[in-house]
Symmetry: C2
Subunit: 319 residues, 2 copies
DNA sequence: TCAAAAGTGTTATCCTTACACCCATGT
DNA sequence: ACATGGGTGTAAGGATAACACTTTTGA
């Protein structure tokens, strides 16, 4: 690219007026106890992150080494989420680009790393967990406050548009919950100043309304990761990155349910998994689950070669 | 983020050892004459691009201004594709991050801009156009050469794996063509040194085998854009960004076919579009198309608010 | 015996795919 | 008349969703 670039660009050469820093940020997900968890550091609710450095062979390897250094957690599956430029900083005129990633892993036994923490992601997004029915916070708190926010708009068109967006994102009108709209929902709450991050300061009221806050825009990045994962499990077999080598079908189902935040129809779920030949029996069974012993399965890694393979469709139960 | 970052990062402050440059690169697509086209500059088959600068308000606005400056083409719809770090450059130890975007637009009448060119994207990817049946280059050239490449591998396992990957990506075994695997196919051809970019120099033989080359990794970025677009039209109504304000259903179908590189079943396509209420009649008709005059439609922008809306499913015709 | 989970069979419904056919206009 | 594109009806097949029910263990 370089040879050509000189011809078409303005400020090439070794000038550094436009030089910037690049930050790598990781949303590391594991599922434990039927709860999806995200890896955080410090006591400040921050995602692992660090600058991309000369010593890094690639963006991904830079990310891996930051996460390992900060948390001791080695990463398996990684995919890029989004790149964005931070608003200008005060003081230095320099800009920062943030490149965010989603990583899937299994929770390692905690070592004596002081700063590693696995936080339940529904602590940050309480309204996203519909496994025990529609959370009451939705109708009791979020809906009235979003309506109030909508009606506080200056002109009629904005009011209509705000109500419309809220209704679609949260399923207020028709009760249709779309679990993939996690990011849109967070952004609405942000616009409506119902999350701690939006109010800048420490409005404890806002914080208690809409989940735990994180520093800077880390919660938005987490929302992006959740949305990506919820959509991806349906068309790519990525859940298995979160599973132990051997598992029962119900364990698999509970993991998918934890991620999607909704309950699935057991008989149909099993059939879908089996007919897609995503798994194979080990021959063993386990009695650890209570009830009749469950057959154990392992992921058939071969499917990844065999065809462009789909993920785990979600046979939902009725509300 | 800054406040916290200082606590957890190594080389913060104003040091610049790890400072980098960020390049913005655009895949700008339009469809004209039933041919998808990509905006290029210069005679070198290059995508519009330029460095992210202090003056840019955001990554997207930086991209817009580079494209407009280099081509005079204003952009509408934009979405991020991928961010990657170039391999180190010779001479300066500095690194460059490239942030690529997909933009959809309508082709503007050419002004006296000397360097703007709209190139047919199938000139770069001749094997991707299946609208007139399976291209003969697939069975006549690509398949034998890919097999030869596979068999040239040292160990048995690699041979098996190369054959497997080729068969899935190009549908050799079962004749199943998956139009979304554009990137995988390009990467296979790259690995097999069947594209000009891989051979470094100007192997004209390679170039004629597998389409026009582009500078650096621009063709890989284009492949990424094609793959993204082919998948996205199915679940988001983005085709309409490429259409004039008013169009007939067959024109819409031809546009989708051009992007997908495959033919669609006309009656079913129309029904899908209409029953999803993606369009509404203008009341006008046109006789420009030959045959019976066609009703004209426009996109119903309102659907974007009404619900989480799907795109244009592809009711394929049999091969 | 009961609770809890594993597992099977079958039906109803919807969506996709395909086929067959008619309509309106220009040459 | 016929070629070209516009447009409608409907049936076959497959995938999904729902319901009903049996099996196997531990407490």
């Amino acid at each position: 690219m370089d040879d050509h670039a000189k011809g078409i660009r303005k400020g090439t050469g070794v000038s550094n007026a436009n030089d910037i820093k690049a930050d790598l940020i990781a949303v590391v997900v594991a599922v434990n106890d039927h709860e999806p968890r995200v890896l955080t550091i410090g006591r400040a609710n921050a995602l692992p992150s660090g600058p991309f450095e000369l010593g890094h062979r690639s963006l991904q390897s830079g990310l891996r080494s930051w996460v390992e250094e900060q948390t001791g957690q080695p990463l398996g599956y990684i995919e890029q989420l989004y790149t964005f430029a931070d608003r200008d900083r005060v003081g230095t005129g320099q800009r920062v680009i943030s490149i965010s990633y989603l990583a899937l892993t299994r929770e390692e036994e905690a070592t004596q790393s002081d700063r590693r923490r696995w936080e339940r992601w529904y602590d940050y997004f309480p309204w996203e967990d519909h496994r025990s029915g529609t959370p009451s916070i939705l109708s009791k708190v979020l809906r009235p406050r979003l309506l109030k926010w909508a009606d506080s708009a200056g002109d009629n068109e904005t009011r209509r548009e705000r109500r419309q967006r809220s209704a679609v994102a949260f399923g207020f009108d028709d009760g249709t919950w779309n679990e993939e709209l996690t990011l849109q929902r967070y952004e609405l709450l942000y616009e409506a100043a119902m999350v701690g991050e939006a109010t800048g300061g420490q409005s404890s009221a806002a914080r208690s309304v809409a989940g735990e806050s994180m520093i800077a825009d880390h919660r938005r990045i987490l929302a992006t990761g959740i949305a990506r994962l919820r959509s991806k499990i349906k068309y790519r077999p990525v859940v298995f990155e979160l599973m132990p080598p051997v598992f029962s079908l119900l364990q698999l189902q509970r993991t998918v349910e934890a991620l999607a935040g909704r309950l699935l129809h057991k008989p149909n779920f099993r059939r879908l998994i089996e007919q897609q030949e995503l798994v194979e029996q080990t021959g063993e069974t386990t009695a650890d689950t209570g009830g009749r012993p469950a057959k154990l399965y392992r992921f058939r890694h071969a499917v990844l070669d065999e065809r462009a393979v789909a993920g785990t469709k979600l046979p939902l139960t009725r509300a």
